[in-house]
Symmetry: C2
Subunit: 307 residues, 2 copies
């Protein structure tokens, strides 16, 4: 049988790329030592039919293209240096729509205080935006440098966007989070002096935990610490969706997932939510609200559009 | 009438982006001052149906994705620092074909001595490769810093790829140049100490000359200095193509176009071909082999595939 790229999946393809280059840092971004600091670089491609919900405005598409890349800088504790935009569009796209996309990119660059330093356009059958974010980090915050006993925390609520993708109209905080996510660049810059490791949650909490897991160590997450509201549970239930599935396996909130020593947590000058701890179980588990413990599945985020 | 993006064209769209960001250097790449040097960054997206001839191998697609980006570094006289790869592919692409593309990328990175520092994959209806090339330049070689009286030169023959796109089989130097172009990274590093300006020829000589033209100054190109071979003229004629049109208006050779003072030309330790000079005519002209002078049209490269 001839294998197709879809037979092994995107994560394995990326692993194949990494295993074939001795120069790739297997982390949220590339890290290149440079004059006593580190150049942080990352490049993400967003494709209209896969990454933008149908009810997303052109402005929000542009904004999100910056957010997903800046979020990787945030996960490294990097100071933003510049953003490069490469955009492909159908010939028939209205000029005003293009201007709206660019406006979203520019507003996002202002918001994250990262200058737009380059731009290129192209033609394709749908909108494709590739962003490259560049930054500097004296102490890059890697994703797997935690130790047994560290606490696991997140910079904000997760699962909001996951729920929001299921509504068509823009009428609640969940849709707002789905259409207008923000990267945690300021928090990343603070975390670099306190956290023992960090990554951003793009593909869902479960997927990121498996991504950062090291042999011999494991994680225990506590449902009650996730602090899921009754409203959230009810909305999910009305949509016939499992709320824990939304929270664990979807993502797109662009919150940071980090680990921290207990003693450093008190000193940390930003809001965060401790949701569990690193242990030596070698597995990733969830303590449910009813006290039962179950294994968290390694189910990655397969995007919110059906394929 | 509602304007579409195709009504104004890619060059104008890029100008619109540049005019809306105060932080974009309107040159071959972005230039970001960094610790006494300059970070050089550039990002180019290649789309299968637009940028890869039908007879191009997967290996050559990967190689070319690196070449087009490294060529921009070369045009700035930059030392390569790292290359980031973002690739989207149809689900049905054979895994072996993906591996061949990656092999092309890796071989190109070896060839240009630029480490592959990051990789990401995605799904799309056709192959789309976005490369980001990063480099450092103490003295970035800008494209419009020439003066009246400077000589105009190129690092090698142009028009070869333009002719090669018209053959299906891989049987001559023209097809080789079309399918396996190489960027002039080493030449760029030497030129930075001799040339007064430089850019790379991707969209054709004419297009690049109009791109670098400054108010009040002009260029005179001499056909006899282009040194077009009889074989080239005959092949073009057999294909019912105008050889000067191929040479002036197609591009994709990735040679460097540069200007240099007469005195510095003798000291320049690389092969090159002087093709004309900067003057104060405010127009871009060609002296034909028969002695007649004609205006070179500002006709950009609209890719070799019919649209």
């Amino acid at each position: 049988m001839t294998l197709k790229v879809s037979d092994i999946g995107e994560k394995e393809l990326v692993k194949y790329i990494i295993s074939n280059s001795k120069d790739i840092t297997p982390d949220d971004t590339a890290v290149t030592p440079l004059n006593g600091s580190n150049l942080i670089s990352t490049c993400d491609m967003l494709i209209q039919s896969r990454h933008f919900p149908q009810n997303m405005s052109y402005f929000d598409m542009g904004f999100k293209a910056v957010t997903v890349n800046v979020s990787d800088l945030a996960a490294m504790g990097a100071e933003p240096l510049g953003f490069l935009l490469a955009i492909a569009m159908p010939k028939e796209l209205k000029l005003d729509d293009f201007k709206e996309i660019l406006d979203g990119v520019l507003k996002a660059c202002d918001y994250y205080e990262i200058p737009l330093i380059g731009g290129d356009t192209n033609e394709a059958s749908e909108i494709i935006i590739t962003g490259t974010a560049l930054g500097l980090a004296d102490k890059p915050l890697m994703k797997d440098t935690y130790q047994n006993g560290d606490l696991i925390a997140i910079t904000g609520d997760i699962g909001l966007a996951a729920l929001g993708f299921n509504f068509d109209s823009f009428d609640n905080i969940y849709v707002k989070q789905a259409l207008e996510p923000k990267a945690r660049i300021k928090e990343g810059l603070i975390l670099k002096d306190f956290a023992t490791s960090a990554t951003d949650i793009t593909d869902g909490l479960a997927s990121e935990l498996y991504e950062i897991k090291k042999d011999g160590l494991g994680f225990m997450i506590h449902e009650k610490l996730l602090n899921v509201s009754d409203e959230y549970k009810e909305l999910a239930s009305k949509l016939n969706l499992d709320y824990l599935d939304l929270i664990l396996h979807v993502g797109e909130d662009f919150e940071l997932l980090f680990t921290i020593k207990k003693d450093d947590l008190e000193k940390l000058p930003i809001d965060c939510k401790v949701i569990g701890e690193v242990n030596d179980s070698d597995v990733i588990e969830l303590t449910l609200e009813n006290g039962f413990v179950e294994r968290i599945k390694n189910k990655g985020y397969e995007h919110y559009v059906s394929e």
